[in-house]
Each structure stands twice: as structure tokens, then as C-alpha cells.
Amino acid sequence: MKELVAMLLLQGNRIAQFPGGETFSWILNLLFYVIFIVFMFYGQRIQMYVMLREVEGSLYKLKYIKDEGRKTAIETIKEIGKPQTDPASRVDRFLEYFTIGPQSLDPAGIVWKLEHILDVRDVRFKDEVKAMSPAADNTQTNNLENTLEAAMALNYIYKVIRHFYLLGKKTLSLYVIMQLQMILPLIMREAEAYASALKAFAYGQPIGDGVGALVAAKLMHGQPTRKIAKDCVAATVPMEGRTVHVVKAEGPGGNVGKTGDGVKTLIEENEGKIATVIMVDAALKLEGEEVGSVSEGVGAAIGGPGVDQFKIEESILKYRIPINAVIIKEDIGDAVSPMRKEIFDAVDNVIERIRQVILEKTKEGDKIIIAGVGNTIGIGQ
């Protein structure tokens, strides 16, 4: 300790010995005290401004992504839909659309109310897209709808972040700004995922979320298909001496179909005589897990607002049908951006797993349902 003090004193003396060094050391001392006092009284405020600046940077990026989304949507509509008038104002109106969820004070029957609202929303969106792009066919209409929905999501994210940024700036509340700054990396990841989804939807490229639909498409390819529910097709495929009913959303346009209705119809058609239901879907991976890794489990593997999951669970419960699930792991960015090779390569692995489940859990002559869940954009059947 003594040596350290001596060394510091020596350094101080050396500065003082430097020509003009005395003035220099005075300036340094003064600067030190000023900084100390400023940080004592304004430290929190400075920290807040640093955080606000960080949020501002991300907000710039969000604004850029949002504007790109709008631009891509308008350009795609002009290119595919060949509208008579400029679709910009109509797109702007579309980006501001909202959906009010059903009242949940009395939760009985809420699923049907939610389904109705979602159906109304879907019809409204499709009508709007058709009015914007009269020359588009059904597949292109679905892709355009998906593009607009991605642009809408980006617009909403930007507006919410801007709201909290301006609120934080107005109230100078450290806690509003701090929460925003802490959650921002996750929000930026989501926004970047939607940004890459935009081009995929506009061009009709398969996305990571469609891996379940791709598995079903591979299983049913070459077999006659029939429409079983809204935007949903099914095919009967022989496999290991069993009869397999494969369900997926109708491709190659971007939609998820009513898989819940599809599975329910198949169960009813077979009077509940189904040995097992196997669901295949993409699932969010945890950090550290590999993209495209496959896992098995039980339960209805289907995302979305919950209507389809509810319907499948009701149907299997009615006839006590066992339900198995195979999931393909990917992160949010992979799920909505063009399909990665690792995810595409996982399809054969998934089919092998399904074959194993069928062999282990069912007998020859049994009937099985395989539901490939996910957005079928860029995937035929």
C-alpha cells in the first residue's frame, strides 16, 4: 500500500515537473470534481438519456423495416395484382386494421366466438386483397395476404415501441425506458424475422413454419387428394399395412388451413375408429438446441390462437384416441423466413420417426391420421 501511495505521489510530481504541468494537474483535479458532482446529481438522468439513445437507434431500424415492408407490399400488389389505381392508400388503410378478441368474463363458448371473429377477419382480409389486386389468382391472393399481414405486424411493432419511447421521453420515467430497453433485443429479433418473412411471402417461398405441411405433402404426393375442410386437403396413403389419412393446408398459396376441422371430419367419417393421431409441426427451439432437430411427444402440436387445438382435443377425447406429436425445432427467425436446408433435411428424419411410431403404437389394418401443421406457402401436394 505504501509503495502504491509513493508511486502515485511520484507520478503527481512528474506531472507537476512537466512544463505547464501545475496548471495541467489543476485542470485534471477540477475536471475530476466536476465529473464527480455531475454524476452524483445527474447520474440517473445521464443513464436514462443513454438508454433513450439506444431505443432511438432501434426505433430508426424499426421504422426502416416497417417502411420496407410497406414498400414491398405495394410493389408486389402492383406487380401481381395489376390494379387500375395506386394501391398505396388502400395498403395504408389495411396496415391499420385491428381485431378485437371476444369478451372472456364468461369463458364458456369463447372458442366458438373467437373462431367466428377469426373467420370474419379472414374473409375481410381476402376481400380487401382481391379488391387491391384483381388480376391475382387464389394462390397469389393468399401470398399477398400473408405479405400484408407481415407488413401489418411490423407496423404494429413500430407503433408500440414508438409509443413507449415517446411516453418515456415525455414523463422521463426511468422505469418505462428501462423496461423498453431491456425487452428491445427480443422485439428486434422478432421484427427482423418478419422483415425476412416479407420477401418470402411476396415471392411465395416455403418458410420454416411449413415443415409440418412439407412432411404431409411428401407423404401424400402422388395420391389423389380431396378437400376436407376450409383450405385443407386430405389423402389416403397405405403405410406399413395401415391406412393413413394425411391432412395438410391446401398449397401452394400461403395459408394454414383449418387443420382442426380436417382432423375432426376424418375422425367423424371413420366413426372414431382411429388407432392414433400423429401431429407434425415446427416448434420454437431453446437457445443451444440445433436447428432442425426432431423430438417426439404427446399432445396436439398446433399453434395459432388455439381454436384448432381445442377442436382436435375435443374430437380425440370423445373417442379416447391417443395423440402423438413430432416436432421440428427452429427459432422464430427460421420459422417465418425462407426454409433453411437443415429444416428441409429434417423431413426424411421426421418421416422415419412417424414410421417408428406407427409400427410401435398400431397394428396392421389400423387407421391413422397424420396432420402436417403449418403455413404451406410454396409447398404443393
Binding site: 437507434g57 426502416y64 415471392y203 411465395g204 417461398q205 416455403p206 425462407p338 433453411r340 410454396g378 409447398i379
Partner: protein, 137 residues
Amino acid sequence: MSGTSSSAATRISSFVLLVIFITLALSLTALILAINALRTPDQETVAGYFLLIGFLGAALSTYVLLQTRKRMKRLSIKTPSITTIIECKKCGFRNVREFQRGDYIFKEVELCQKCNQNMLITAIYKEVKEKMKRTRF
């Protein structure tokens, strides 16, 4: 298909650029003055101050310039290159090309060059080269 898009948000403000270049010019002047002062006897203190100001100014303006460029780089959406694989189910002939609008998996496309049968799109995907980050877990 691959490339980046840009908009007004990606451009550097001309005012910021002006400030950066003025600071850089002043810093360089300070460094020249410092060298001149070093050559003159009894001007070591002045030379020291000029050197300090010159180096600090040059470092600061370069840092700001690099940061602005970095921000510009961040503000661009990369469009990945997408591969379409077309196969002939009869003879197994494979054709790999860039994705084209209208392609979808299981779409029948052009005739096979070898056996004149309709070829099928069997895969559409992107390849991502991930940076290997070593973790212990």
C-alpha cells in the same frame, strides 16, 4: 434474388458528414502544427498540447464515421439466396438453380434433358453459414 435494399433511413446526414470532416481537417492541422512546434526550440509544451488535441480529434472523428457506417450496415435487410432443386423422377437427373417466382415444391416444370419427361421441383431452401461460436454448453 440476393442483395440489399436501401432507403432514406440508410443515408448519412450531410450535416453529420460535414462536422466529421471539419473535425478531421482541424485535427490534421493540429498535428502539423505540433510537428512544427516540436522543431522550434522552447515550444515543447505547445507541441504536446497540439499533439494531444490532434490525436483526440482524429480518433473521435474516425470513431464517429465508423459508427455511422456500422449503423448504415445494420439498417439493411439482406435477401438470402434461395436454391430450387428440380429432379426427374424417371432417370434421376438433377438441376440446381436460383429460385424463380412461381416455383413451389412438387410443381411440374420443364422437360428432362435426358429422357424428355416432366421434371419436378423437389426442394426449395436457403443455406445459412452460421458463425461458429464456441460455448461450453
